[in-house]
Symmetry: C2
């Protein structure tokens, strides 16, 4: 069974993930060969600067000329773990043009240019695999794309960013504010010096776009994903959540509409009941909940980032792509045949928890309730708390569209008796 | 892209799972065709008696002659959801001989004859897929076999039987005894009239054999799996577990030894800490925890049985097998190259919780402690409770081999001061 000519792998990028990929390819060479049916050989490692990459690798393999490496013509698989849009995008398309298949961990690029990259792969009859782009080591792309290929996915609800889950978990367990929890995350290496991509939800939005595309067999672009960060979540929000038997998580939510003709994708902080499996996802872990017609509710849990976990996902793809090459086949490509409408955030229907600062006088509740009623937003519960002439009103609604809720809030802000809207938080997972 | 000649599917068995497979093949025909790249057509449904199967299916498709159906020669994929060893085994090998690939949900058969069936599939260049055989809709075979193909799995720890989890969860939450909880499970349809296969761990043992084989790339036969049922778990055991901050689950545990050269597989009730993700798996749900070198800890959770969830897994495999046929390739076959030693239960190392009924007089603890020491089993904690001249002694050990523990218990039984060994339970997941 075993072929002796090795499959040649070009590794683009040799940082935290790339160096782990290179290390495991060496230490697990025999296992990889047995599982693929042929040996795999690291044919080159492209880096920006050669200094550090030479440490663990054969110096003769290390190059700063990534383009020349992917153009060599004898490369079977290009593993792209550079990240970012360019030069990764050009290198991947060049790889296809020169006969290689590609394994990528690049969520930003896949979310932005997935359709074009899939088209390039298909045009050249090559594979494009990217399990590592979403939720690190957690098998998610393959289960959605293959295990559930005979089912109809209605909802994907996930914690797909470890940094923000670490911060929110810390706020939940210690009562700390956002800044304090962020500082701890930074000190421990869970947050980058510039945490914008994580805390503003850009990273999660890229993953939501990828997941929605695969789950619904429909192209979902990054611009289609509604995005709200978690920098404004306060310790008071966590106290409110606790009163409701909830906690707060930054969620990526991809949903099919009830009539099945449209989908939505969004990222924002939300309250979820403590009884929901996602509520107990601690620290920097990720977890994704999938709901489908036949399978029901599934959950996938694990480390969402880190060199080794991401390398595990990359190598799983590498084995699959190598096996495909040996058998002359390709794996499932982009599946966008369903071509459903991607609806805007206004169409999203969910429940809301709204905190209002109001004047502490008779008739305020009636006024507020009237505004909700006028916008067709039905109230589930109201709680009033008065102190020193000021009062707060906490309203939890039944399910309503985001558009109706926005209209309600706008009208509430115009009421003389409403001093301010302290917070608006969606309630999910019920 | 779309081929017009349909792929022909023969369905063997039309019970709870089979009828769902047939239903979804009809209602989701367009989606399946788009995902496969060709339409799939139900070419025949083999049943034992034609009466009921005719209800949902075209009567012309229904036959009681399964052998003739798989021998037709124009069948692309045989879906076997009959269960049991025969006639399923002969029908599957006949299918390979007549050019079909096979999707099966048959855990008993795969656990017993997996190697022979894989060999038959390979000899004929056909696929044998069986995601539905373990943990219903939960993607598990594919993640272990493909997503983690570049990683080294060290441990699989799972709740793979919904009936027993329902019973144990009921005992935990209500304080009920085994029989009372079983009666409720039977009344609600979670347990069969004869619950032996579930409560004695036979079902879980078959799944453990399959999981261990895939996780460790080594043949693990059903006989290699140590099996202990959960019929002797008592309400008192749950009280003891609670005192330790634990609950009790029937676990399937597949482990690689520390030196990497051998593996073990076993099924038995065990205490696990409430903080372990498996502790919160409720009702008839299944969940499997996987630990690997690079990915770290992953968990897969979902409905482990039922017509629709199992059908979801079957159809995911059907799509994959059909795609493979169209591209002239086959998916990953059996991977048993590692050929590790499968060690007996005596070699398993874990912790133990032992309840002894002892005479309430001085020196008993010293006697008991001496027996543990003589057998090299180190004690972590001891708790003594005296009442009316009788006393109970609860010993929790450090990690020790099953052989050492068995020797200890045998010696304890011979002590005059030990009236009886009330329970021995392993402690896992720490």
């Amino acid at each position: 069974m075993m072929r002796t000519r090795p499959l040649k792998v070009a590794l683009l990028g040799c940082g935290v993930v790339g160096s782990e990929v290179a290390r495991i390819m060496t230490t697990h060479a025999d296992d990889l060969a047995a599982r693929i049916g042929a040996p795999v050989e690291l044919a080159g490692v492209a880096v920006r600067r050669t200094g550090k990459a030479r440490e663990g690798n054969d110096p003769a393999l290390v190059t700063t000329d990534a383009t020349a490496l992917v153009k060599r013509g004898d490369i079977d698989v290009v593993v792209e773990v550079i990240g970012g849009i360019e030069p990764a995008r050009t290198l991947i398309t060049t790889a296809f043009e020169h006969g290689a298949s590609v394994v990528s961990a690049n969520k930003a690029l896949l979310a932005q240019d997935g359709a074009a990259l899939h088209a390039a792969a298909e045009a050249h009859g090559k594979d494009l695999y990217y399990e590592a782009a979403v939720a690190g080591a957690i098998p998610l792309i393959r289960p959605l794309r293959e295990s559930l290929a005979g089912d109809k996915v209605n909802r994907v609800l996930g914690i797909v960013n470890g940094t923000t889950n670490f911060i929110l978990d810390k706020m939940d367990s210690t009562g700390a504010g956002y800044q304090e929890a962020l500082d701890e995350a930074t000190a421990l290496g869970y947050a980058e010096a510039d945490p914008t991509a994580d805390v503003e939800g850009f990273d999660a939005a890229a993953k939501a776009a990828i997941l929605a595309g695969i789950a619904f067999h429909t192209r979902v672009r990054l611009d289609d994903v509604y995005r709200e960060g978690m920098t404004e979540v306060t310790a008071a929000d966590f106290r409110s959540a606790k009163e409701m038997g909830c906690t707060i998580k930054l969620l990526a939510i991809c949903e099919r509409s009830k009539d099945g003709t449209s989908v939505t994708a969004r990222v924002h902080p939300a309250m979820i009941p403590l009884s929901h499996p996602l509520a107990s996802v601690r620290g920097a872990y990720n977890a994704v909940f999938v709901e489908s017609d036949a399978a029901g509710q599934l959950m996938f849990y694990g480390p969402g980032a880190g060199g080794s976990p991401t390398a595990s996902a990359v190598l799983g793809d590498l084995v699959a792509v190598c096996r495909n090459r040996l058998s002359g086949a390709t794996g499932p490509g982009e599946s966008a045949y369903a071509d459903l409408t991607v609806s805007p955030m206004g169409d999203v229907v969910t429940r809301y928890h709204i905190s209002l600062d109001v004047a502490d006088k008779p008739g305020v509740l009636a006024q507020v309730a009237t505004v909700f009623a006028e916008h067709g937003v039905s109230i589930d519960t109201v709680r009033q708390q008065g102190k020193d002439g000021e009062a707060s009103l906490v309203v939890v609604t039944h399910r309503a569209s985001d558009a109706a809720l926005s209209g309600t809030v706008e009208a509430l802000r115009k009421l003389d008796t409403v001093r301010g809207v302290a917070s608006i938080m969606r309630v999910e997972g019920e």
